[in-house]
């Protein structure tokens, strides 16, 4: 002990120019964590929050009690959607770099989170996403053209030009509107889930935040309310190691895993390999079944790595080693599933490449179509008068008169 009090300033294990070091990550062998019954008592689940549920091992085999036993068709579904997410992100990133959209955020390296969880949830379950969950929208039926039109703020933009790119929503797909304010969607998911139970329905809610946003009060509000009322909700923490430039220790992840944040409230936590589609699927299905049968909330920490920049406005080479992702012990979710499928004998590099080509063609065709509805430089254009709509259910007089004035000024009157 020191004679004086002192602060600990959290520092990542490696900064630019230094050797990546993930020795701080507690790992576990695939198949080594047990799978309790969904009606197990919360106190008997505590070990799941410090373990690491993994199904895919380093030799590309699926192992252990959490193996969901996917058939080849299910594996291909998972692979296809993760690849589509990545191919779409790559293209949208280029499009932003060409100055054709104002902003973009990739999910590179984290695609398994949205895709595996979307596969495990039922269509009637409500998703409250964060900004890196575009895979949820894709899987739940939002077309690439519609997503691109949102990023273009054009005449087919679902947000009518009101939101930054990537702030999608889908009422029909049961995916909530993305907010730029971090963590605010967490209590919404809990309230939605409480309403589901109040109405006697068996739909559950799920929400996602990053490791950084667990520091927000909303995170703690959500956990408290979820625990108090045993709301049927899955609360996910996507621990991608980085919150822009601060590593997960700055959000308080150095001494206990984020999955353990709910233990003090009696919320079971499961720490899962976030780059393992099969493990995420199994854990999510387990938590969903438990919630649907009155077992209450589960907190899932998905251990992954933010493979790209935080956003197009960010330059990660300023604060972390360039090659850090290559050293991440849990690898790349797409590569791992692909190697598993090859090992299973029903996939190949050739098939993989041709699937990528097919998806790139799909994305290119979508981009061509999206631009027909307007770009940042060419029409057709949205009517600026629509900016006064949807502030309230009915547009009040003061907004109507401001709309008239704005249109007069636009016409030079």
């Amino acid at each position: 002990m020191n004679k004086k009090s002192r602060l600990q300033i959290p520092r990542p294990t490696a900064r630019p120019g230094e050797k990546p070091d993930f020795s701080y990550l507690d790992l576990a062998a695939a198949g080594s964590v047990d799978k309790p019954a969904i009606d197990a008592r919360t106190r008997d689940l505590e070990h799941l929050s410090s373990g690491l549920v993994r199904v895919l091992d380093d030799d590309h085999n699926a192992k252990g009690p959490w193996n969901p036993g996917f058939d080849p068709a299910q594996l291909q579904v998972g692979l296809r959607w993760m690849l589509l997410n990545r191919v779409f992100d790559e293209r949208m990133w280029q499009i932003q770099r060409q100055g054709r959209i104002s902003f973009y955020m990739q999910a590179t390296g984290e695609e398994a989170v949205s895709i595996a969880q979307a596969m495990a949830l039922r269509p009637g379950d409500m998703c409250f996403p964060s900004y890196r969950n575009q895979g949820l929208f894709m899987y739940r039926g939002v077309t690439l053209v519609d997503m691109m039109c949102q990023c273009l703020s054009n005449t087919r933009d679902m947000c009518l030009g009101r939101q930054l790119p990537i702030m999608y929503h889908s009422k029909s797909g049961n995916v909530f509107s993305i907010s730029g304010n971090l963590g605010t969607q967490y209590p919404h998911a809990v309230g939605w889930a409480m309403a589901s139970a109040i109405k006697g329905e068996d739909h559950i809610a799920a929400s996602w935040v990053g490791d950084g946003s667990t520091a927000e009060a909303d995170f703690h509000h959500a956990l408290t309310f979820a625990a108090v009322y045993q709301a049927p909700v899955i609360l996910n923490v996507v621990n991608n190691q980085w919150a822009i430039s601060t590593f997960q220790g700055t959000a308080g992840g150095q001494r206990r895993p984020f999955a353990a944040r709910g233990l003090g409230l009696g919320i079971p936590g499961i720490r899962v390999d976030g780059n393992d589609l099969l493990a995420i699927y199994a854990v999510t299905l387990w938590a969903a079944d438990r919630a649907r049968r009155g077992g209450g909330p589960t907190l899932i920490e998905l251990v992954t790595y933010r493979g790209g920049a935080h956003s197009t406005s960010d330059d990660p080479t300023k604060y972390r080693p360039k090659d850090e992702w290559a050293s991440f012990p849990l690898g790349d979710p797409i590569e791992r599933l692909k190697q598993h499928m090859i090992a299973e004998g029903h996939w190949s590099d050739t098939k993989h490449e041709s699937l990528i080509d097919e998806l790139r063609t799909e994305v290119t065709a979508a981009w061509k179509e999206a631009q027909k509805h307007g770009t940042m430089t060419e029409g057709p254009w949205l009517d600026p008068g629509t900016m006064f709509e949807d502030v309230y259910a009915e547009t009040p007089n003061n907004l109507e008169s401001q709309r008239r004035r704005m249109l007069e000024i636009e016409k030079g009157e």
Partner: protein, 338 residues
């Protein structure tokens, strides 16, 4: 017609709406078993059950955040924040989420939450039980901001708020929960029993949002105010002998401009009054509106009576509070100006 105080009127609004619409739920601190620290939800949990009248943890942000989620899932939540002074932890949820949801999702998602919260001073509550933060909320587009001044309006406006698909912040001036207050702390408290606005129908009725009320007709000076100060203004009219028209704004946003303008054009003089601090207050918006619409009808500068720009002091409440003395002085000042 029954006699009700404001608490009974608010309780009755809840009761009627919960009977009428099974999607109406109530949540907040102490609202359930106990019936609320001001008793506004007394008896509702016994009648409608624990799933519809929910005692919440002490987390205003959590109450409002979960209420938003309930609203998205088809319920019509009425959330009580025990004192307006404690609403700030929920401010981000109100501004960034509740007020913006319909707009940012182009009408696909909305959440019809009503947030009720007791506000204002005159109860020896010190700075943590006396604040009037209405201007902060009236400034936020996408929510409607309401403050009734009597039992009849409280019930009718609250029913309108609960039925509205827009989010509402509903301020309840707690000094007048039990009776009108003319701003003179030396006088004994009076009840709503003998007041015409204490006569409240037992059944369903609405007072529409977005409409001001002429609380006291007059010809010489228009006083634009709301909440407790409506009663102070009427008392000051009598004390000064000036024939004031007292306008009760009732809905602060969106504002009923037409009623204010018609009155000021008639009287040619305008005094604006609120308990909240003056600088950047809601009165500043009223001044700007009135001078724009009525400039050539004004015979004197528009004046304001408001709380001083200090935190709400405990020991000096009656020097701080814009009571009868200050209101009367304000009236005389506007009348003296040529």
């Amino acid at each position: 017609m029954a006699q009700m105080n404001m608490i009974e009127a608010i309780r009755s609004a809840h009761d009627i709406m919960m009977d009428k619409d099974p999607s109406v739920v109530v949540l907040g601190q102490d609202v359930g078993y106990f019936g609320g620290v001001f008793r506004c939800t007394d008896g509702l949990q016994r009648k409608f059950g624990e799933h519809r009248v929910i005692d919440a943890p002490i987390a205003e942000g959590g109450i409002i955040g979960t209420a938003i989620g309930m609203g998205v899932n088809g319920l019509r939540p009425v959330a009580e924040i025990q004192f307006a002074d404690y609403i700030y932890p929920g401010f981000d949820q109100i501004v960034s989420e509740l007020a913006r949801l319909r707009y940012r999702s182009s009408g696909e998602f909305f959440s019809p939450v009503t947030i009720r919260t007791p506000c204002g001073g005159g109860i020896r509550g010190g700075q943590t039980h006396s604040q009037s933060p209405e201007a902060i909320f009236a400034h936020v587009t996408g929510i409607k901001t309401v403050m009734p001044s009597n039992p009849y309006d409280a019930k009718g406006l609250l029913i309108s708020a609960i039925e509205s698909d827009d989010p509402i912040v509903f301020f309840e001036p707690k000094r007048i929960y039990h009776g009108p207050f003319d701003g003179d702390p030396e006088k004994p408290a009076v009840s709503w029993n003998s007041h015409p606005k204490g006569e409240v129908p037992e059944g369903y009725y609405t007072v529409p949002l977005g409409h001001a009320d002429i609380a006291h007709p007059g010809e010489e000076l228009t006083i634009i105010t709301y909440g407790t100060l409506v009663h102070v203004a009427i008392a000051a009219t009598k004390e000064t002998g000036v024939d004031c028209e007292v306008i009760d704004v009732r809905t602060l946003a969106p504002l009923d401009v037409a009623t204010l303008v018609a009155s000021v054009k008639k009287t040619g003089r305008c005094l604006i009054a609120h308990e909240a601090t003056r600088f950047g207050g809601y009165g500043a918006e009223l001044v700007a509106t009135v001078q724009k619409e009525c400039f050539y009808h004004l015979e004197a500068p528009i004046s304001r009576v408001a709380g001083w720009d200090t935190p709400y002091p405990h020991a000096f409440e009656w020097q701080y509070f814009p009571g009868l003395k200050r209101m009367s002085a304000g009236i005389r000042k506007v009348m003296e100006a040529q």
